[in-house]
Every structure is written in structure tokens, then in C-alpha cells.
């Protein structure tokens, strides 16, 4: 079983990338599970054809965690991809990080974490220990950073590198960086910039996803690009990403940059 996690700045396209990656992997006949680890709970929506599935924490809130069964929190979407949304408290109260930890413990207890590949789609920043959960305890062993060439996006990716570097020092840690996915924001020389960023953090660019209108069109039709436009060039990009991820064995411990290094890198490409 391969467990991978996608991290990156909020709004950068983690969920779109995750869902298309899961769909492309499922097309190969693999048993796939995708877990959205974000209180916004919109990670799996395209795989579920627009349905908002009940989140794990919705169920916990309504009935407590004792009587919950796997079929109340795991839902089959496109090509049998098993979809889970962790969910979270109402914005502004409680502790969403603890919610992620509780979700993992519940899924563990329900024996629901299985399949050929589990894809964890995690919210923007690793703001606390809870949101580092997918990187901990041997869950996701490969982390992929999703970023564009924008400075703030690189900054977020760099911060996540700090979390990976820190957690990888722990004795039981198995997580490492699998690579960087550039989700284009149509910036000049963006691919070269992100490639250089990846090199400097001791990693590599594993996929360049161009900006394509088909992504929005598929989304309006409540489907992944893989499902809505399987013949499109964009679907080909996601399939290639799926192939790269499956074959990837080059894991590294990232070397995060300091702020000056990051800014001077961005300056080189202005």
C-alpha cells in the first residue's frame, strides 16, 4: 500500500490535483482511497459527482464516535475511489487540528485505511500538530508539494518542507518528500522557477500542470478532468503524474530555504 499526501498553499489546486490523480490511478484498475483533511471538506466532491458527503466529524458530532461504522464515513465515487472527508468544527471555535487526529484514530479503528494507494489531501499550511497528522505515525510516507510560481505559494511550500524536515528527524518517522508538483498560475518562466525551487530544497519537479480551461469546465460539470474529458491534453498530464507517482522511489529529506534565499530566488525570475 502506497500512502501519499498533497500539501500546499490554500487555493493552489490541491483538491483538483488530488482528485484527478486519484481518478487516473483508479483508471489503472487500482484500489484508491482519497481522504480530505480540511474543515472545508471539498476535496472529494468531483470524485463524488458534486455530492457533499457527510464528514467524519459531522458523524461524530451527531452521534458520538462509538457507534460509527465505516459505511457512514467512507463513500464510493468515480471508479470505486473510496472518499472520506475529515471535516471540522464550525469556523472560529474548537480545535480543527484535534479533529484531524480524531479522524485518523477513528478510521484506524474502523480498519478503513486500506487500498493500493491512499491519497491524503491536506489543508494549506501545517498550522499545528494536528494538520501534520498525515505525515506522522507512518501514514503518508511520500509528501508532494503543490505550488505555483507565486512567491506566497513557494513560501507555503517551503514552510511545509520545514515540517517534513522536522518530523523526519523523529525515530519512528517514515515520511519524506516525493517531489514538487507545479500547478501553473501562468507566470513567465514558471516551470524553470519551480524546478529551481525544487532543486534548492533538495527535491525535484515531478509534474508541471499547465493552466487549462478544461479544469473549470469539468468542475462546473461536477467531474474530474479524467472523467469529463479523458481525451484532453490535461487528462494526459494527470495520467502522467499518476505514472510518475506510482514509479517514484526517489524520496528526500527537504532542506528548507530561509526567507532571504526564497526572495532572492523569486527575484531571479522577475
Amino acid at each position: 500500500m502506497k500512502q501519499i499526501a498533497l500539501y500546499g498553499k490554500g487555493g493552489i489546486g490541491k483538491s483538483t490535483t488530488s482528485a484527478n490523480l486519484s481518478a487516473a490511478l483508479a483508471d489503472r484498475g487500482l484500489d484508491i482511497m482519497q481522504i480530505g483533511c480540511d474543515p472545508k471538506h471539498d476535496s472529494t466532491r468531483m470524485l463524488m459527482h458534486g455530492t457533499w458527503i457527510p464528514t467524519v466529524l459531522d458523524q461524530v458530532r451527531e452521534q458520538g464516535d462509538e457507534g460509527i461504522s465505516a459505511d457512514q464515513v467512507v463513500f464510493e465515487g468515480y471508479r470505486g475511489v473510496r472518499c472520506v472527508e475529515a471535516g471540522g468544527p464550525e469556523p472560529g471555535v474548537g480545535c480543527a487540528g484535534r479533529g484531524i487526529i480524531a479522524t485518523f484514530q477513528l478510521l484506524e479503528r474502523l480498519d478503513a485505511l486500506r487500498g493500493d494507494v491512499i491519497v491524503y489531501d491536506v489543508l494549506g499550511d501545517v498550522v499545528c500538530g494536528g494538520f501534520a497528522m498525515p505525515m506522522r505515525e507512518g501514514y503518508a510516507q511520500e509528501i508532494y508539494l503543490v505550488t505555483s510560481g507565486e512567491l506566497m505559494s513557494l513560501y507555503a511550500a517551503n514552510n511545509i518542507c520545514k515540517a517534513i524536515a522536522r518530523l523526519s528527524r523523529r525515530v519512528r518517522s517514515k515520511c519524506a518528500l516525493g517531489g514538487v508538483i507545479c500547478n501553473s498560475a501562468n507566470i513567465t518562466d514558471e516551470k524553470t522557477l519551480v524546478e529551481e525551487f525544487a532543486r534548492r530544497i533538495n527535491s525535484r519537479l515531478i509534474a508541471y500542470v499547465p493552466r487549462d480551461r478544461i479544469v473549470q469546465v469539468a468542475e462546473i460539470n461536477k467531474q474530474t478532468v479524467i472523467e469529463y474529458a479523458p481525451e484532453s491534453a490535461q487528462a494526459g498530464v494527470y495520467r502522467a503524474l499518476a505514472g510518475s507517482v506510482l514509479e517514484n522511489t526517489a524520496m528526500t529529506i527537504p532542506t528548507p530555504l530561509d526567507m532571504d534565499e526564497l526572495e532572492s530566488l523569486a527575484l531571479e525570475f522577475v
Binding site: G64, G94, R98
Partner: protein, 347 residues
Amino acid sequence: MNSNPSPLNLSRYEGCTITGALAVSAFIPDALTVVHGPAGCAHHNLSLLHATLLQHDRLPLPRVYATSLGEKDIIFGGEEALERTIERVLQRNPRAVCVISTCITETIGDDTDAVCGREWGVPVIHLHSAGFLGGSFNEGFVNALKGIGTLVSPAEAHDGSINIVGEKNLEFEVEENYEEVARLLGLLDLEVNVRFVRNTRVDDISRFSEGSLNILREGALDPIGRHFHEQFGQPYLSGFPVGLQGTRAFLQAIGDACGIKANEAIAAEKALQEEVAADFADLRGEVISLSPFGFQCPEFFLLSEVAGAIGVRIAPEGTEIPVPFGTPVGTAGIRRMLHQWRRFLHA
């Protein structure tokens, strides 16, 4: 390890902040206390309180409630659990409710102030008690006194009476110490207004502002002394009287603060102290050594002062006598300590 070994404030700079807050709130007979946190926070602290009170043969035991937060409350926020518990507690018709917050509720950002600030019909007071913010027993104790201070209504004028602030409700000699201070005040024809807070009812607490002077139980409460000085314009004295000379100085300080001549009271007290020394004349010439119990401070000035006054010499070869667990208050406290010395010397 006791980081602050002075017998004056033994272990108050350690421990759980909730214990400090409870050591105040549990001593308002017509108020009820809610610990907003996991059941264990309430249980552990209440057990400690119960054990101490039972050891001192003091009953009845105070009633304390807990919101008993579980993981669900932590993830989704504990404010609803607090509201439910306050509603439940109000069915017992308390005159006030004290809500003690805990580490976890402050960590997840529960707005305890907002819940307490709702219109409940009686005052519901938030006593800040998140120990991880650097607090200790003393922090909880001080925060609780500050919180209870919100029950006080401003007075138009001070009436010349004296407030006693921050009595150590968990110390064995709490009543004896109070009586000693009240006796000393009596020498100056002064009366106690409010014991803030020891078995004091909510209505009585509200009269706190009428007092002209606040006597703090100990120096660790100076922040509270300043707080009430700012709020109600009351001067304060930090600490109950300690030592022979200290007790006479205490009378002088009160006299100064209240604009009363203390000469006669001081002379009367000096005569009493000479009488005490005479009562223990049988100890003259004895040699003692002071055993610190491992954590007490044998260099405490009171011990050498008293030894000097009755003609007892302190030397390593002397009979081993424990440093008193609680600091003797006033002349009466010294008399009790000397009885203990006599028991050890004549054992």
C-alpha cells in the same frame, strides 16, 4: 523541588492553578463552582481539597461541578458544555457561580468570558486558571480573588473597618491566625469588615468596599492589594504579623494607615510578649537545632528572634526541633510554637 523555600509562601509558586482558584471559590457558602475542563481536572483538585479539609476536621465539603469535557467538546468547542453545566448548577439556586477555566479550554480558545457574561440572573464569574500560561497555585488564588472582586459594589465612603484578604483556607491554623489578627485589631479598637474570602456569603462580599484598609494574608498577594487599591482606594498591608518585633510593627503600621495612635496597643502587646517569655522560662539555657524537614528554611529570622527572647541557644548539637510547617502568626502563633519546642525538649 520547592523553588521558593521561604516558610512564608511554601509551595505556592508551584502546583495546579485550579487548586489556587478552588481554594477561594469553594469558600463562598452560597456560590457554586464549575470547573470548565476535563473531569479529571475537577476530580483531582477537589480530592486534594477534600483530603486537606478532612485532615483538618472541617466539614461540610464544598460542592464543585465539572463540564467534564471530552474529545468531542475539544474539537467542536466547549462553550455549549459550559452553558449546559451553568444551567444545571443554577437549578440549585446559588447566589453566584464561579467558573474555573483550565489549560485545555484556553488552548482551544473557548470564550469563557462571553459565556459567563450572558444574562444568567445571578453573577457568573470567570476565574482565569490556565496553568500552562505560567501560573501556579498562587496565580489561580490571585486570579480568583480578583474575579470574586467583581461581586463588590462600590461604596460611598469607607467606614473605618478592616478587610482581611486572601486567608489561606487550606492551612491548618487558618482560624487561629484570623483570631490573632482580629485580637490585634481589637487592641486598636478596630473591627473586621469582610473576610475576603473565607466562608463569606455573596451579600457580605459586596460590602468589601466599605472597609478602610485591606490586610493581605501574605506578600504574595501584593498584586491583589494594588488591584483593590486602584479599584476602591483602599490602602493595604502586605502580610499577617510575624515575629515579636514584627507583631508590634504590625500594630504600628495599622495605626499609621488608619490615623490612630498605636502606642498603648504596642505597649500592651509588649507586656503580653514578656508574659509569654516568662511562661517558657523553664526552657532558658536549653540548646536546640532546627530541622528543615528537607524543604523548610531554618534560617528564618523568627526562630532566632524567639530563641533569643527566651534564652534558648541554637547550635548543631542541640535537640532537633522541626521548623514549623506554617509560619506562626502574631504572639499567639509564637506561643503555640513554644509549646511545641517544650514538647520536643522535655520528651
